[in-house]
């Protein structure tokens, strides 16, 4: 028994030594072959090296951009979770309006948060919420009486069209998002129509209208949604810079709640329409005089056109408008969003699921969304770039795959005699398969390491150089004002394995070609 075990162990040891020896020799022959065919090795190596370097740099850049945007938006604009009212029939509701494939003027109206008090009470019972603030937002177009009659807009530069976003929070807003840097003037007054504006919006205005903007100036804001185009005049209280200088968030202003509600069409009629009795026709309540008459015709002209109509006649035609007037008043206490910051931001995803389940259980017509959905197109830029990058990588991979395959086939054809000799000397097909696979593996490993080192060096140089992006569209796509690359271990490993698998697949045809080589080919046929 003892002897049997000793013999078995001896055999096992011998097998292991043989295996190691065989591996060592296979690697030695493979490396020798690679050295012998330097040109082909170099072509394959460079393809793998630069391919991996591009992937590492690309993913590192996208990763840096995505993380930068996420940090910026969660810290300064969207918090960890945003809760909004009834979802629109079409499109996605975001903090900056409903995202749908329509022009800004046709953008569906952002609904008010229903049962805001009940919602707040409910959230008081939910654990893990660090802070919260209520919010109104929207899209605005800026203009001014100072522009004058004969103004001809600059149309050659569409990016300077003075359009932007507004946000208006409750008393807790700047406690929750305190990092806004007022660089000129002061914070707006909550009790009068006033705003603070970021520098990019100021620059747009000044470029487009060719007049300077200063603290204390009055400007006209036009709110946009499919329901209405509201006009409000407000005072510029100050100008601010975004807390993150690399932010993709541009053309933003913060303004007082009442103006925000008016621009956001948060009237009693629109907010409480579902609570009113059926007998009350609210169709007119979603429109005030601005909507009805501002752009169509003037009442004075109507009396002229209608020959003998007086103001009394018009009033009697419209009937009692007191209810409509009330319904058209701005609804105090109406908000569009509730923004939450969590104790553990990393739990946002699970918290959103839990909150939505809770809202469904309580039959509340509200929905919790994550920062990315709430941030609208700002986070989409890098996603689009990521998709384009992925397509490019796939195309590149196909080309690299074909080049590797062809190079390997040429290599196999050139070594027909060598492979045939090995087969004649007793090499099984498995050995040939292993040999070619080892060669490819050696190239992939060495070239990949070189590619990773090169990518790290390049990203280090780029990060040290602190390249700034000034173009706003480029900022959106490149994830901010600073070009940074943060190589990520996970995606680097994934890229390495993808290249390894790709190279292994590229091996299949050349290997099958090599396996067809018989020892006969090594012999010098004479007959």
């Amino acid at each position: 028994m003892k002897n049997t075990i000793r013999i078995a162990l001896g055999n096992l040891w011998f097998q292991l030594i043989s295996l190691f020896q065989e591996m060592k020799n296979t690697i030695r022959i493979a490396l020798g072959n690679l050295w012998e065919h330097k040109a082909k090795t170099l072509i394959l190596g460079l393809l793998v090296c630069f391919g991996l370097m591009l992937i590492v740099l690309g993913t590192g850049f996208l990763e840096a951009a995505k993380k930068g945007i996420e940090k910026d938006f969660r810290s300064h604009y969207t918090g960890d979770i945003v809760i909004h009212g009834p979802s629109p029939k079409k499109g996605v509701l975001t903090l900056f309006g409903v995202q749908e494939n329509v022009s800004v003027g046709e953008m569906p109206k952002t609904p008010a948060l229903p049962d805001a008090d009940q919602l707040l009470s409910l959230l008081d019972t939910v654990d893990g919420i660090q802070d919260r603030t209520r919010l109104i937002s929207g899209v605005i177009l800026l203009s001014s009486d100072a522009i004058g009659e004969g103004f001809i807009p600059r149309t050659e530069d569409e990016s300077s069209f003075p359009m932007g976003f507004f946000l208006s929070g409750d008393e807790n807003y700047f406690t929750m998002f305190p990092d806004v840097k007022i660089i000129e003037g002061e914070m707006y007054n909550r009790n009068e129509p006033s705003l603070i504006m970021d520098l990019s919006l100021r620059e747009k205005f000044e470029t487009y209208y060719r007049i300077p903007l200063a603290v204390g100036d009055m400007i006209t804001l036009q709110g946009y949604s499919s329901a209405s185009a509201k006009l409000r005049e407000v005072k510029i209280a100050g100008f601010f810079a975004h807390p993150d200088p690399n932010t993709t968030m541009m053309s933003l202003c913060y303004l007082d709640q009442n103006t925000a509600r008016a621009l956001g069409d948060l009237t009693y009629g629109s907010v409480y329409a579902r609570d009113l009795p059926q007998v009350i026709d609210t169709s007119l309540s979603t429109m005030d005089e601005d909507d009805l008459f501002a752009d169509m015709f003037e009442v004075e002209n109507a009396s002229i056109l209608g020959s003998s109509l007086t103001d009394d006649d018009v009033d009697s035609l419209l009937g009692d408008t007191s209810l409509r007037d009330k319904l058209n008043e701005v609804a105090d206490g109406a908000w569009q969003f509730l923004v939450l910051k969590l104790d553990r931001p990393e739990d946002a995803e699970t918290k959103i699921i839990a909150l939505n389940a809770l809202f469904a259980e309580k039959e509340m017509n509200v929905k919790a969304i994550d920062w990315k959905t709430a941030s609208s197109g700002f986070a989409m830029g890098t996603d689009i770039l990521g998709a384009v990058f992925t397509i490019l990588i796939v195309l590149l991979s196909v080309v690299v795959f074909i080049v590797i395959m062809n190079t390997l086939i040429i290599s196999v054809i050139e070594r027909t005699s060598e492979i045939g000799t090995m087969r004649a000397l007793g090499a099984h097909r498995g050995f040939i398969r292993k040999l070619i696979f080892t060669e490819t593996t050696c190239i992939v490993i060495i070239a990949s390491l070189a590619g990773i080192v090169l990518a790290l060096i390049i990203s280090g140089i780029i990060n040290i150089s602190n390249i700034r992006i000034t173009n706003e569209t480029a900022k959106l796509f490149l994830g901010g004002g600073s070009f940074k690359i943060t190589p990520n271990l996970g995606s680097t490993l994934a890229a390495f394995f993808a290249i390894f698998i790709g190279a292994s697949l590229a091996n299949l045809y050349p290997v099958s070609f090599a396996l067809k080589i018989t020892p006969l080919k090594a012999m010098n046929q004479e007959d």
Binding site: Q21, M422, A427, P519, E526, D527
Partner: protein, 285 residues
């Protein structure tokens, strides 16, 4: 018992719609330790027979036996290759490869050394493919012995491209011997060597044949090899026309001398003919 035996072996090659029979029902037996020459003019089928003996080509019909193993066991090329075009099934390929490794060594006309390996590694290579239980020390001693035997001790760590043709063929001989295969197949081993080196190589092989009782089978045009052989198989148009064994198995010295004289005379004639040929060409005749 014969180490190699062929029974009614035929090899048919398809040539378009026509089938060409390269070997027509060859039967022969080769004894262990013999020095065999397969001779014949080009196209006679000698390389085909050698390839079938070396298990690197499959017969269309007939049996090939190596040390009593019926290699194809009644299965022929037409059956074997039916499923996969021109490729033997894996199981059979592995069996044939193992038999080849165990019983056969090869010496090629073009030496066929592995270019990335040095002399020692080239000789060692077949040992690394098989299942021989040989320790590293034993292996080294055996390879060193073979290197010494073929006179390449000083060249052991040189790559093949640093060697002369004769030296390369010596490496090939040592490589063929390294697995202690009882049969060495040599396809025109002296064809790419000058006559002096060719003679040295032949003498070396004869010495190994004598000392180690290794069977050598040559496919050759070289009259000297045929003259040295103890067993001559002559082919013509795919048929064996002569199958002669010299009883004592020793070298026919007279025949070798005669073959050498013939070769020298031929070389003299070529020397004399060449100037007039050149002249004719110059004159445009």
């Amino acid at each position: 018992m014969a180490i190699i035996s062929l029974e009614n072996v035929r090899k048919v090659y398809p040539l378009g719609k026509v089938e060409v029979e390269a070997v027509r029902g060859a039967s022969l037996e080769i004894e262990k330790g013999s020095f065999v020459s397969i001779a014949g003019p080009s196209g006679s089928g000698k390389s085909t027979i050698l390839n079938m003996i070396g298990l690197i080509d499959t017969p269309s019909f007939g049996a090939v036996k190596i040390d009593g193993h019926d290699v194809y066991a009644g299965r022929f090329t037409s059956d074997i290759k039916k499923k996969k075009k021109d490729i033997l099934p894996s199981k059979m390929d592995n069996k044939i490869t193992d038999l080849r490794h165990e019983y056969l060594g090869f010496i090629f006309q073009n030496f066929n050394l592995i270019p990335v390996l040095n002399v020692y590694e080239n000789i060692e290579f077949p040992l690394l493919l098989g299942k021989q239980k040989m320790s590293k020390k034993e292996r080294k001693e055996w390879i060193d012995y073979l290197i010494e035997k073929v006179g390449l001790t000083a060249w052991a760590h040189h790559k093949s491209n640093e060697l002369s043709g004769g030296q390369r063929q010596r490496v090939a001989i040592a490589r063929a011997l390294v697995t202690k295969a009882p049969v060495i197949l040599a396809d025109e081993p002296t064809a790419n060597l000058d006559s002096k080196t060719g003679d040295q190589i032949l003498n070396l092989m004869k010495e190994i044949n004598r000392d180690l009782q290794t069977t050598f089978i040559f496919s050759t045009h070289d009259a000297k090899i045929t003259a040295m052989a103890g067993h001559v198989i002559r082919l013509l148009d795919g048929d064996i026309v002569e199958n002669t064994k010299i009883e004592n198995g020793s070298t026919n010295n007279d025949a070798v001398q005669l073959a050498c004289k013939k070769e020298k005379a031929q070389a003299e004639i070529e020397k004399q003919v060449l100037p007039s040929d050149t002249m004719s060409k110059d004159l445009g005749v």
